[in-house]
Assembly symmetry: C2
Homo-oligomer: 147 residues x 2
């Protein structure tokens, strides 16, 4: 469970980044970001829209979708790797890794300093500029392996 303090720190970061990029802080954007922070399930734009429309009934899906893309552009959320389905967003910007259930598709975050510190093969680091390293595990989650 995340503390209220950490949440506030993230909101601060959100304000700061927005200003840095000359972006306006609008009620919609704030609501979208808060909804993202609350979400524990790597939601799609449509998920967020459905949750937020209860509070701001006349918000448009386009705003939500565009805003989420903007967020990931300025680095306050990540787009999570998926498999050709709708994009999934992840507000956790700390280094972390993913376990994905091949049956139900749910994605579980986990931390591992060993995985954080894997060393990139020379073959790759010579040719390319590596910005992020992430391990993706796949298999069956606890619910699905009972089936």
């Amino acid at each position: 469970m995340e503390s209220k303090l950490q949440q506030n720190k993230k909101i601060e970061m959100f304000y700061q980044r927005s200003k840095e990029h000359g972006m306006k802080i609008t009620p919609q954007r704030t609501a979208i970001y808060e909804e993202l922070l609350k979400a524990k399930d790597h939601p799609t734009a449509d998920d967020i829209y459905k949750r937020i429309v209860k509070k701001i009934p006349n918000i448009s899906f386009d705003t939500v979708n565009r805003t989420l893309l903007t967020f990931s552009k300025i680095g306050i959320t990540n787009v999570v790797e998926g498999y050709g389905q709708a994009k999934r967003y992840d507000p956790d910007m700390d280094i972390h890794h993913h376990f994905r259930c091949i049956h139900c598709g749910s994605i579980i975050d986990f931390h591992s300093s060993e995985f954080d510190n894997i060393t990139v093969p020379d073959e790759i680091s010579k040719q390319f500029t590596v910005i992020s390293k992430k391990v993706v595990l796949e298999g069956l989650c606890s619910k699905c392996r009972k089936g």
Copy 2:
């Protein structure tokens, strides 16, 4: 460059898997699989369709799409992690890892026994059944880092 022999082995595997799953070997399916094997670029269903329609002009996109999904279901291709764009297919079923260019979106395969052998944290292996482990690196490819 892959040898003709290895290609034939893969075709054999394709026939075998198809029979195992009670699937028919049709000219369309064979052509789709051959096209996949030739591809070095993790193509989308649409890519494959565009290439194959030159040889089988009246094949439908639906057939290509459905066949690719079937292939990944019976384990003769993989769907590669992406970011909410079209699905991308990968005929290489050996263990390997991906580098993805965040600028142009191209995906480069690479091998690394270190990455193959990373050990899954207890936290995860206790709760879940891990079937595959993959490292996804992100950054700029050689072309894009000049921009």
